[in-house]
């Protein structure tokens, strides 16, 4: 019984609750049991709060019994990336510097999840301050990929993605600054969406790079992601960059799923050298399927995308070095060296040296360098110009196409430890996801099969213009439906199976 609950999609759970077959308390308890059973190995969660989750579930059940008009996702449990401020539990951002911090307020997203009456199971693991592509930079140890526990679950939101793939939660929240929702989705065979910049409030999110950060939904199905997208998106006066335009009808698009008559652009620059053969194979097959479904496939060139990685790793560290200056050991978090003799500067420097991990220190110093007088124009200034050119590439491509597609990442999940000491090799994981963050438009990753050579999931990325997030769901749902018809089941059903090589 509990196994069936675990494997249900969000919509399946909603239907079970609506028909009275299952209560939210039963569903929530089943997920808590599953977490207790598998999370010792997977380590998707940094903190689990079963009591609060069950209380929310009981309230939702009581409201349903009383005939109240409930939000769509009421009673569906969710996991939240530990980058969001939330009362009642610690928020660590995967860092020692915030190890025991209990925020005095809720992020807007958390407020909306509470308003949606969704039991929050706990906070998920992540690379420290969202800097990484493997969760190996978490100060609290890595998360393991449920497909192969010797491999990375992606990052920085590897905890949220692994929680979905291990059936510890049906839905999760992630944040995506350079691919931190989409890359973990790709390597865990799940669905992840980075909405248009500003679509989801950043209030209460511990900022990495403010002009790139965007929270979004993580799910096992396209429709699940759409329902969560709708629950968390929308204008928030507490975030000055929050969009005031209406949220597109993403749920309607996910239910419709149709690519007939759409022009879909293949980005020449996002493929070829450095892309694993099995990734390219599954990607190409998926594109052929889109053509069979009635889409017109065209090839487009975005010549400045090859400079995106460079621009990103100048802009991100620059913004991060400034954002992370607030972790100074004075008002919250860790303080080291306050012996009555040391002055404030020494305490700050000792606190930050002890509280930040290697990758965070590297990026802070890189940003400090890029913003230094004498280098500013050549690095930061030039990166901002490249950002304009990448936006123009997208504009030109979208003048000709409704959406663009590419593999989400160049490879499938790599072994834990393989790239942790080689920062540049780690950065290259995000080569296909970064352009969207620089331009601010919307993108989704969804699973399109397993690479024949290693039996690990491959993700396909769909990119849409600003404010057209519904197109991701229209295309994603059509492709997901066609793939599942072909396979006869969902790809995620093959997690932990020994016979996964043939998809």
């Amino acid at each position: 019984m509990s196994r069936d609950i675990m494997r249900e999609s969000a919509i399946g759970l909603i239907e079970e609750m609506a028909s009275g077959n299952l209560s939210s308390v039963e569903i929530t308890q089943a997920h808590l049991d599953r977490i207790a059973e598998v999370d010792g190995e997977i380590h998707a969660f940094l903190h689990v709060d079963g009591e609060a989750a069950l209380a929310t579930a009981a309230d939702a059940d009581a409201a349903r019994a009383a005939g109240e008009d409930l939000p769509l996702l009421a009673g569906v449990p969710i996991a939240v990336k530990d980058v969001m401020a939330m009362t009642g539990v610690p928020t660590t951002v995967g860092s020692k510097i915030l190890e025991n911090w209990r925020p005095p307020y809720d992020a807007t997203i958390v407020e909306r999840l509470r308003a949606a009456r969704m039991p929050i199971l706990g906070k998920t693991n992540m690379d420290e301050f969202a800097m990484g592509s493997s969760t190996e930079h978490s100060a609290f140890g890595p998360t393991r990929n449920p497909w192969d526990t010797d491999r990375i679950p992606g990052g920085s939101g590897g905890g949220s993605a692994a929680a979905l793939a291990a059936f510890e939660a049906p839905l999760a929240i992630g944040t995506d600054t350079g691919g931190s929702i989409r890359q973990p989705a790709a390597v865990t065979g799940t669905v992840g969406v980075k909405p248009t910049y500003g679509a989801v409030s950043r209030y209460g999110l511990v900022a990495l790079a403010s002009s790139l950060d965007q929270a979004g939904p993580c799910a096992r199905t396209v429709l699940g992601a759409a329902m969560l997208h709708q629950a968390i998106a929308g204008h928030d006066p507490r975030d000055s960059t929050s969009l005031t335009t209406p949220v597109p009808d993403v749920v309607g698009a996910a239910r419709r799923g149709d690519v007939r008559g759409l022009r879909i652009g293949l980005v020449t620059e996002l493929g070829g050298d450095g892309y694993q053969p099995g990734v390219e194979q599954r990607f190409t097959e998926a594109v052929e399927l889109l053509a069979e479904l009635g889409a017109e496939i065209v090839e487009v060139s975005c010549p400045h995308f090859r400079y995106a990685l460079g621009a990103y790793y100048l802009i991100l560290p620059s913004e991060a070095s400034s954002n992370l200056a607030k972790f100074d050991g004075m008002r919250y978090g860790l303080r080291v060296g306050d012996d009555g003799d040391n002055g404030v500067e020494q305490v700050m420097a000792q606190t930050r040296a002890a509280g930040f991990g290697d990758e965070v220190k590297r990026r802070i110093m890189l940003g400090t360098y890029a913003l230094s007088s004498g280098y500013y124009d050549a690095f930061y200034g030039q990166a901002q110009k490249v950002r304009t050119l990448i936006q123009r590439d997208f504009d030109a491509a979208f003048a000709d196409c409704d959406v663009l597609v590419s593999p989400t990442c160049p490879t499938t999940a790599f072994p834990l430890g393989e790239k942790v000491d080689d920062p540049l090799a780690m950065y290259l994981n995000d080569i296909a996801t970064i352009p969207v963050n620089l331009a601010g438009n919307a993108a989704m990753s969804l699973p399109v099969g397993l690479a024949p050579e290693d039996g690990l999931p491959v993700g396909l990325q769909i990119m849409a213009p600003h404010h057209q997030d519904d197109r991701l769901y229209l295309v994603g749902a059509a492709l997901e439906g066609a793939l599942e018809d072909k396979w006869g089941h969902r790809l995620i059903e093959q997690v932990g199976s020994d016979e996964r090589g043939d998809r």
Binding site: H304, L314, Y332, K361, M365, Y427
Partner: protein, 101 residues
């Protein structure tokens, strides 16, 4: 193009960023930062003299909210998360009489 970052430069950056790094880590960071900066310096290959800079992906101007007083965080709750507090305030190390960082 190669822009080698020296050990001394790392020490300087660490000082600017308020990171008290042990000497034996400086060389390691110098090597890694050199590799990274060499890679990101490819942005300089783009001819972009006449291209405007983008600082924000969805430009907005004049985002206002009503200038009205609202509730703020409870003092005791905030101070309960401070590394040190005294008499209802944050207690911080001395800020005077020290060498320039």
């Amino acid at each position: 193009m190669t822009t080698a970052i020296t050990r001394d430069e790392v020490a300087h950056l660490a000082r600017l960023a308020r990171l008290d790094l042990p000497d034996d880590e400086l060389s390691h960071y110098a090597e890694q930062l050199t590799v990274i900066i060499d890679a990101v310096a490819t942005v300089s290959e783009v001819a972009a003299d006449d291209v405007p800079a983008t600082s924000h992906p969805v430009p907005m101007t004049n985002v206002f909210r009503p200038d009205a007083a609202g509730p703020c965080l409870d003092r005791d709750v905030v101070l309960s998360q401070a590394p040190a507090a005294e008499d209802g305030r944050f207690r911080v190390p001395r800020i005077l009489d020290e060498d320039p960082a």
